[in-house]
């Protein structure tokens, strides 16, 4: 069983679309809403840009969890990108679960530009979910131990 000690601070890589979720995260900032510092963001123009293999790559690189966030259905700046993302991640998440990667580690959310508060909730949810399953070392790349 993975170690689940309480001071485990997970490292979460998040892919946010520029128009909704990144703006929502910015709004959380402008509103000074405090949330855990575990999430590190990569901005893309649209959640449709996120290749599900990025998730695999992040987990290999040492991330304990991955979050993909985009506009709510119907709100995509490019109309359809989030729908593609939804399909891709549904399948990828199921598949990783099938291999034994806990679903808590691969999350997806819809956060709009006005949902600074929701962003915080999402982060808290993701962080606590990842904490509950402990560090991801299943297929992390071997440290080079210099």
């Amino acid at each position: 069983m993975a170690e689940k000690n309480s001071d485990f601070e997970p490292n979460i890589v998040a892919f946010l679309c520029n128009w909704c979720s990144y703006a929502g995260a910015d709004l959380a900032g402008t509103s000074r809403i405090q949330y855990p510092s575990n999430v590190r963001v990569i901005r893309v123009m649209c959640s449709g840009r996120v290749n599900p293999l990025f998730v695999m790559n992040a987990l290999q690189q040492g991330a304990d969890g991955v979050l993909i966030s985009g506009c709510h259905p119907g709100d995509c700046h490019y109309m359809q990108g989030n729908y593609y993302a939804r399909r891709r991640f549904m399948l990828m998440r199921n598949f990783l679960e099938y291999l034994g990667v806990e679903p808590e580690r691969v999350r997806m959310s819809w956060v709009s530009a006005s949902e600074g508060a929701k962003w915080k909730e999402v982060i808290e949810e993701v962080v606590s979910g990842v904490k509950s399953v402990g560090p991801m070392n299943k297929f992390q790349r071997r440290q080079l131990n210099w």
């Binding site: 695999m56 729908y83 593609y84 990828m92 199921n94």
Partner: protein, 327 residues
């Protein structure tokens, strides 16, 4: 059963055609019960052709594996048609290849074989090890009849049948120009029992299960090379820049390889089982493919390789696709 004489007759006619470059079929293998691909370019070679339950290869692979060497200046590329023999499952590869615009329908001539099932050569070899003479396998009723070294053995069909055949929904080819036999109706449906059983296990058990398998993988990429759907000019899994996964063989990179390969086949894999068949270290690749296959069918009511006009699964969506996993 396909009448071999009839097959040869049709094949002779096809290879004699001006507009056909070659016919890809099966011929006797070099030892044991093996059959292997045959590439026929002239009517004289047609008598090599066979069809039997030993003809396991999915020949659709050769349509996309075709080598297109630089055409010397002043010469024209040979764009004549290629004729290919396909079983039911193999025909789905053609459909999917066409969905993905690998070629136009009029580039190929399809000889469809309504398939009553092929053997799993591993099961055969386990049962009859070290058969050197060129043995033969035929299906008679519900028994496979194996003749070798002057002997004749009967085995219930069930015992030697390839697993993929046990759940084949399309034994009669979905696309063909000529059908070589009467249509065959589906044998059985897929109950995904193996996938469901694995799904139910704990994360730790699943990981341990796959780790054991993946740690055997020698990353020869044979499973990719043989796949009729894997025909990128330059596979991303091989690429150095960017390098999605390293060439070094360890559990991390190998797991990454298996995730990437299976994901790249999501909504595209047509269940021919070739990847698993060729794997020298017997990694149950079909259990990976079938997880996607099952999810894709359940979630999106989509079955790859059944409709050449369908939009590619991951290049389309429905507004009401499931999203209960989204926060």
């Amino acid at each position: 059963m396909v009448d071999v004489e009839k097959l040869r007759e049709i094949a002779r006619e096809v290879v004699s055609r001006e507009d056909v470059r070659q016919l890809i079929g099966y011929r006797q293998g070099t030892y044991g019960f093996r059959a292997r691909p045959a590439f026929i370019t002239s009517p004289e070679e047609v008598d090599q052709l066979i069809f039997s339950p030993a003809c396991v290869n999915n020949l659709a692979t050769y349509l996309t594996l075709e080598e297109r060497l630089p055409v010397p200046r002043g010469q024209e590329p040979d764009l004549r048609k290629v004729a290919v023999m396909v079983k039911g499952c193999d025909s789905r590869a053609l459909v999917q290849q066409m969905e993905e615009k690998a070629y136009e329908r009029d580039r190929i001539v399809v000889l469809g074989i309504p398939c009553t099932g092929v053997v799993d050569m591993d099961k055969v070899e386990k049962r009859f090890p070290n058969v050197l003479s060129r043995g033969e396998i035929a299906l008679e009723g519900d028994k496979f009849v194996l003749s070798f070294d002057g002997k004749r053995e009967e085995v219930p069909k069930e015992e030697l049948l390839a697993d993929k055949c046990k759940r084949c929904r399309y034994p009669t080819p979905l696309v063909y120009d000529q059908l070589l036999d009467e249509e065959v109706s589906r044998f059985a449906d897929d109950d995904y029992a193996d996938v469901l059983a694995l799904e139910k296990r704990s994360a730790e058990e699943k990981w341990a299960y796959w780790e054991e398998k993946f740690s055997r993988c020698i990353r020869c990429y044979s499973c990719r090379n043989v796949c009729p759907m894997c025909y990128c000019e330059d596979c991303v899994l091989d690429r150095l820049n960017p390098q999605w996964m390293r060439r070094s063989v360890d559990i991390s990179e190998t797991t990454a390889y298996h995730i990437a390969r299976a994901y790249h086949l999501a909504g595209r894999c047509i269940q021919c089982g070739e990847c698993q068949r060729v794997c020298p270290v017997e990694i149950p690749l079909m259990e990976l493919n079938r997880k996607f296959y099952k999810d894709v069918e359940e979630l999106y009511d989509y079955e790859p390789g059944t409709d050449a006009e369908a939009p590619p699964l991951l290049a389309t969506f429905k507004v009401d696709d499931r999203e209960d996993f989204i926060l």
